[in-house]
């Protein structure tokens, strides 16, 4: 796609500094009319800073943004850019027409909402963008995944936006839905809309976008038409070097008795997939954020329905559809990824947060809790994890994120499990807590247990794990271990999917 005389969006020399770090360093970016422009880069490369400046959330330190030639200041004025985030922000219980009207405005007659025009409006807006409208009276929640994504985009564009920024729109879309979304994006492009497309999935850029801008460490590395690029070239731009092979973590593993054996497991759109984890191993289960691979760990824990295949723990088959309680009894532990929503018991003490379900640790539902003994046990755990404040009666919300996470790791260590499934164990945790949690997990496996780390943090997987399984579109696309387990390799494999002939397991 050739540069046009006047791009719709023209960003020059955009610079933003946070606490001494340059998040953006003189970035130029131009998007033409009817162009789909991809913005790629590793986490922390500056993509989200750029988007947040466009959205007016941050203010740039230097540089200018022009829209249709006019300098704009998104921080202080309304600009014709629409933003569609991964979660879309739709109201599932309301109709398509109402969801559109929430953004576009409700047509009224004599002060009251005029429903026939609400339906018309939704259809008109869909058609104006070259997209076939669904019945505007349908509940938004009943649209498929791609239908919802399209609705999110269409309604964002309804306020005469010239440009739409899509942030990881396919992160939670199954393959066929993604294909449908791409078709709609091409229609939008045909209708003259400019699209800035942010994605980690490099493969999908080919055949979809016109040009690609790669950021690294806050700088623009290159902007090039997609036809001149290859996936490898983009990865090289993102990393700033050729793919190299070095691995930091661990040495041992693999030889022990299998603790977890999974055969042809299907669950939550994932699979069929098979793998095993031996005693003494820390294994990473890696996928891009939103890929849904956490369903695998949850199924082993009994918190997600199993659609097929078998799960063996220490050689014995676990009956499918068993309860979480039953799996805990058999020695499975799962640290949930969403600390606030799935682990924290707000308003309750650290002691109670360490032992929320006492029978997991000892006794039954009706065997008395001796407060002093439990306090001593809590003290020991808080001490071991260096939790501050080291006071079992402090409430969990008084603690920093890192200290909270140490409490939740402690909660599961207290259950003395055979298999620890850790989802994003160090997300949003300070460096000290991160090191301590990593050390704890490595220590755990020396006692003959197994650890499965479910994460999208490649750095963590590369340093912590003995072996990593890369999940792409529900299948294990690669297995990396030893010297081959590097951040680069994880990034390449999870962004590109299976390398030819590398199908593992």
């Amino acid at each position: 796609m050739p540069d046009q005389p006047q791009p719709v969006v023209d960003i020059r020399g955009l610079t933003k500094r946070f606490l001494g770090t340059l998040a953006l360093d003189g970035v130029d970016l131009a998007i033409g009319a009817g162009e789909i422009h991809a913005l790629v880069g590793e986490n922390g490369a500056g993509k989200s800073t750029l988007i947040k400046i466009l959205a007016g959330i941050h203010q740039a330190d230097h540089g200018e943004i022009r829209i249709d030639g006019r300098i704009v200041h998104p921080h202080s004025e309304h600009v014709p850019i629409a933003f569609v985030h991964q979660d879309l922000g739709l109201v599932d219980e309301m109709s398509v027409g109402e969801n559109v009207a929430l953004v576009a405005g409700f047509p009224r007659r004599a002060g009251f909402i005029f429903w026939p025009r609400v339906w018309e409006q939704a259809e008109r807006i869909y058609r104006a963008m070259g997209v076939d409208p669904p019945d505007p009276r349908t509940q938004a929640g009943r649209l498929g995944a791609s239908g919802k994504a399209v609705l999110g985009i269409v309604r964002a564009l309804s306020r005469n936006a010239r440009v739409v920024v899509l942030d990881e729109p396919t992160a939670s879309l199954p393959g066929p839905d993604a294909a449908h979304l791409f078709e709609v994006l091409h229609r939008l492009r045909g209708a003259g809309t400019s699209i800035l497309y942010v994605s980690h999935r490099l493969n999908e850029l080919f055949g979809l976008v016109d040009r690609v801008t790669t950021l690294r460490d806050g700088r623009r590395v290159r902007t090039a038409p997609i036809g001149e690029l290859t996936p490898d070239a983009i990865v090289r731009d993102m990393l700033g070097r050729d793919l190299e092979a070095h691995h930091a973590a661990s040495g041992a593993a693999g030889g022990g008795k299998p603790v977890l054996e999974i055969t042809d497991l299907r669950a939550g759109g994932q699979g069929p997939l098979s793998f095993r984890i031996a005693a003494g191993e820390v294994v990473g289960l890696v996928g891009l954020r939103g890929a849904g691979h956490e369903a695998i760990g949850r199924t082993v824990f009994g918190a997600h329905p199993q659609d097929g295949g078998t799960i063996r723990l220490d050689g014995a088959v676990l009956p499918p559809q068993e309860s979480v309680a039953a799996r805990i009894r058999q020695g499975v532990a799962l640290l949930a990824g969403d600390r606030l929503a799935e682990s924290a018991l707000a308003g309750m003490s650290l002691r109670e947060n360490l032992f929320p379900n006492v029978p997991n640790v000892r006794g039954g539902l009706f065997s008395p809790i001796w407060t002093d003994r439990e306090t001593a046990a809590a003290d020991a755990l808080l001490d071991r994890f260096d939790v501050r404040p080291r006071n079992p009666n402090a409430q969990i919300e008084w603690l920093s994120g890192g200290n909270q996470q140490k409490v939740f790791v402690g909660r599961w260590l207290a259950t003395d499990a055979r298999l620890y499934i850790m989802e994003e164990p160090t997300a949003g945790v300070d460096i000290g807590a991160k090191a301590l949690i990593h050390r704890t997990l490595r220590d755990l496996v020396t006692k003959g247990t197994a650890v499965l780390v479910v994460s999208s943090d490649f750095e963590e997987i590369a340093t912590l794990c003995d072996r990593a399984l890369v999940v792409v579109r529900g299948r294990i696309a690669a297995e990396l271990s030893g010297a081959a387990l590097t951040v680069d390799a994880l990034l390449t494999r999870s962004s590109l999917g299976a390398a030819p002939g590398a199908e593992a397991a």
Binding site: S323, V324, A325, E342, E352
Partner: protein
């Protein structure tokens, strides 16, 4: 213990914040107790002869025992953040039945009481199943069952008061005064002790609070949520039935219109109780203290010559002020906590 000195000697800043936090925590914990003592002191001084008289004290104890039992009943499902709006109607219908079964059907009172307790358990099971199995919001489900119970009481009594003629002494003495001590208060005490042990010292009680704090987290730690919620409604039903039997014994009549007016005071006491002792969650001691504070302060105001309707202003005002203050205190604690490490969320 090989710790650095840095650990044992906090900086003045964190020490100050810790003290502030502990202090605000303490005021929140014992606030209700302080208020209770103040109420006793103030009215004791203003009306020294009548306020502390045995008659006044016993009168309060007997009349409030029903409210207290109902408040404790309400507390159990509320620990899991489920409402039981049927307790008032439940109390009413059982009060009608305990008299009616004796007067109309000629059933001896122990048998009638046993039947009532079985029915009460059944009501609890129905409430619990509607909430857990049929996924009806507890507010709606229990409003429905409560209204049905109210209808049943009126159908059974034909809307008329059943006068308890020639009730056996063993039934009416059950709520009498023995050696200067009102028996109903004793029953409340027994129930409170059991409930305290369950909620504070048994894993099953902690699980109720865990479910209330974060049902998703409770699920992911292996707690059988539905079974616990069902159990909470069964306990609430059982205690409502007990309260109904006591009320029948106190009133010695069965009145179909009685019951609903007990719901809100019981609720108020439970919620007010959640501001103290264990700030932020419903608890046994806080609930009992609240019942006492509300009852004694109303009695005191009445003795100062206030008309009967003042009690409504009183209850409503105290509830809003106390809950408002406790939310303010919780926010303050939160901001102190946030300030300690610069964390957000």
């Amino acid at each position: 213990m090989a710790r650095t000195t840095q650990d044992t000697a906090p900086t003045p800043r964190t020490r100050g914040q810790a003290t502030g936090r502990t202090l605000s925590h303490l005021t929140a914990t014992y606030g209700l107790l302080v208020v209770f003592v103040l109420v006793l002191l103030v009215f004791g001084l203003l009306r020294p002869d009548s306020f502390f008289s045995a008659m006044n004290m016993n009168g309060i104890m007997v009349s409030q025992s029903v409210t207290a039992l109902l408040a404790l009943a309400e507390m159990v499902p509320l620990a899991t953040k489920q409402f039981d709006l049927s307790v008032g109607y439940h109390l009413g219908v059982m009060q009608v039945l305990i008299i009616g079964l004796q007067v109309n059907q000629g059933i001896p009172w122990p048998a009638a009481a046993a039947l009532i307790l079985v029915l009460s358990l059944a009501v609890g099971v129905v409430n619990g199943l509607l909430v857990t199995r049929f996924r009806i919001d507890s507010f709606i489900a229990t409003m429905g069952t409560g209204t049905l119970l109210y209808g049943f009481a009126n159908w059974y009594s034909n809307g008329e008061q059943i006068v308890g003629m020639s009730l056996p002494d063993s039934f009416t003495n059950m709520t009498g005064i023995v050696w200067g001590f009102p028996l109903p208060a004793l029953y409340v005490l027994v129930v409170a002790c059991i409930l305290w042990a369950v909620t504070e010292r048994l894993p099953v009680g902690r699980n109720l609070y865990v479910i209330g704090a974060n049902p998703r987290a409770a699920e992911l730690t292996g707690i059988a949520i539905n079974r616990h919620i069902l159990g909470a409604f069964v306990v609430s039903g059982f205690l409502s039935g007990v309260a109904g039997i006591l009320l029948g014994s106190i009133l010695q009549t069965g009145t179909p219109s009685v019951g609903p007016e007990y719901l809100l005071p019981a609720f108020a006491a439970t919620l007010l109780g959640a501001t103290s002792i264990r700030p932020g969650r419903v608890n046994v001691i806080g609930t009992l203290l609240s019942v006492l504070v509300l009852a004694f302060s109303f009695s005191g105001v009445q003795q100062l010559g206030a008309p009967f309707y003042v009690q409504y202003f009183f209850n409503g005002g105290i509830l809003i002020v106390a809950v408002g203050l406790s939310i303010y205190a919780a926010r303050k604690r939160q901001s102190l906590a946030g300030g300690a490490d610069g964390r957000s969320g």
